[in-house]
């Protein structure tokens, strides 16, 4: 366990400011189109094969009480924000081995920025996320 804790602590020091800047410049309109790729498993307002996205930003991982997360997601301890989403979405299985999100990822940085920009708006939409 000490080894695992050390790994996590070491990993937590990585700086990834560039990804955050890209997310800040994302186009939410294009991001809405990118989000269509997610719709086999996710929706904003309902849990599906994947958890709902309403309220995503600032939410600790694996914190929805009515969704059955992977052990990997439960163990991660992260909070979803632009940076963590950017890293996860690039390659979910690499970023979080053991995640149920078996998807190659959104490889294009600008597409991830657009998707994150869309999610930032949509997951706070009062009409959808009541």
């Amino acid at each position: 366990m000490k080894h695992l804790a050390a790994l996590a602590a070491t990993a937590a020091t990585l700086t990834v400011g560039a990804g955050i800047c890209q997310a800040a410049n994302g186009d939410p309109v294009h991001g809405a189109q990118i989000y269509q790729r997610c719709l086999a498993c996710h929706s904003l307002e309902h849990n599906r094969s994947g958890p709902r996205h309403c309220g995503l930003f600032g939410r600790p991982a694996a914190s929805l009480p009515d969704f059955n997360y992977s052990r990997a997601m439960k163990a991660t301890g992260l909070t979803w924000d632009e940076a963590t989403l950017d890293q996860f979405l690039e390659n979910p299985l690499k970023a979080m081995p053991g995640t149920k999100m078996a998807y190659a990822g959104v490889k294009n940085p600008q597409e991830r920025a657009d998707l994150i920009a869309y999610l930032k708006k949509a997951t706070l939409d009062p009409e959808i996320c009541k």
Binding site: L4, A8, M73, A102, A104
Partner: protein, 198 residues
């Protein structure tokens, strides 16, 4: 505009969960077996001999696909019993649901053959039924799910370790894409709006 750098983990999770998962599987000889199962050739499935590299990874991917297929089956059931679909659209929906059932059965069988446990269908699914008021609403909802399924398989194909499994996943992708095109056509939309899918 610049935003100060923040700290995030290099890897969002420490890897031991995966390791312990791996240790339970060991090696398998299921590459040809899996492809035969997914292709619905049970007899051939019994004689596969190629070695799969990391079945645990493929099991996770196939289970994710299975979960989506189960939800699609439930969604088509909602559409078919909504009273909103008229023949021949109703027949089409039932046919497409049958395809998803075939996909799900093949995926579940393959997960078992790979030593995994197939995910079970949820007892309940939440669909936006309050928004489904016309046949077009149901078709648009189904088209959205099918488009998502295409993207999901597109995201699965490159990461399946077993290339034969990837080939069959691509075959399912093609089926889902045809569903999407037909549904768009039924809605009066361009059935094939782009040269590439993502």
């Amino acid at each position: 505009m610049s935003i100060p750098p923040q700290t995030v983990p290099a890897t969002l999770l420490v890897p031991p969960v995966r390791r312990s998962f791996l240790s339970g599987f060991g090696k398998f000889t299921l590459s040809a077996t899996a492809i035969a199962l997914l292709a619905g050739q049970e007899r051939l499935a019994l004689v596969g001999s190629a070695e799969a590299k990391t079945p645990n990874n493929d099991v996770a991917i196939l289970n994710a696909a299975l979960g989506a297929e189960q939800e699609a089956i439930a969604a088509y059931q909602v559409g078919a019993t909504s009273g909103l679909l008229q023949k021949p659209v109703l027949d089409l929906a039932v046919q497409f649901q049958g395809h998803h059932k075939e996909h799900a059965a093949a995926l579940a069988a393959t997960v078992k053959k790979l030593g995994g446990t197939p995910v079970e269908a949820r007892k309940t699914y939440t669909f936006p039924v309050e928004k489904l008021k016309t046949q077009a609403d149901v078709l648009a909802f189904a088209a959205e799910l099918e488009k998502g399924a295409v993207s999901a398989y597109l995201g699965a194909v490159p990461i399946l370790d077993d290339r034969n499994l990837a080939k069959v996943a691509a075959s399912i992708l093609g089926d889902e894409a045809m569903h999407w095109a037909v549904l768009r056509n039924a809605l009066g939309q361009n059935p094939v709006p782009t040269a590439f899918l993502s």
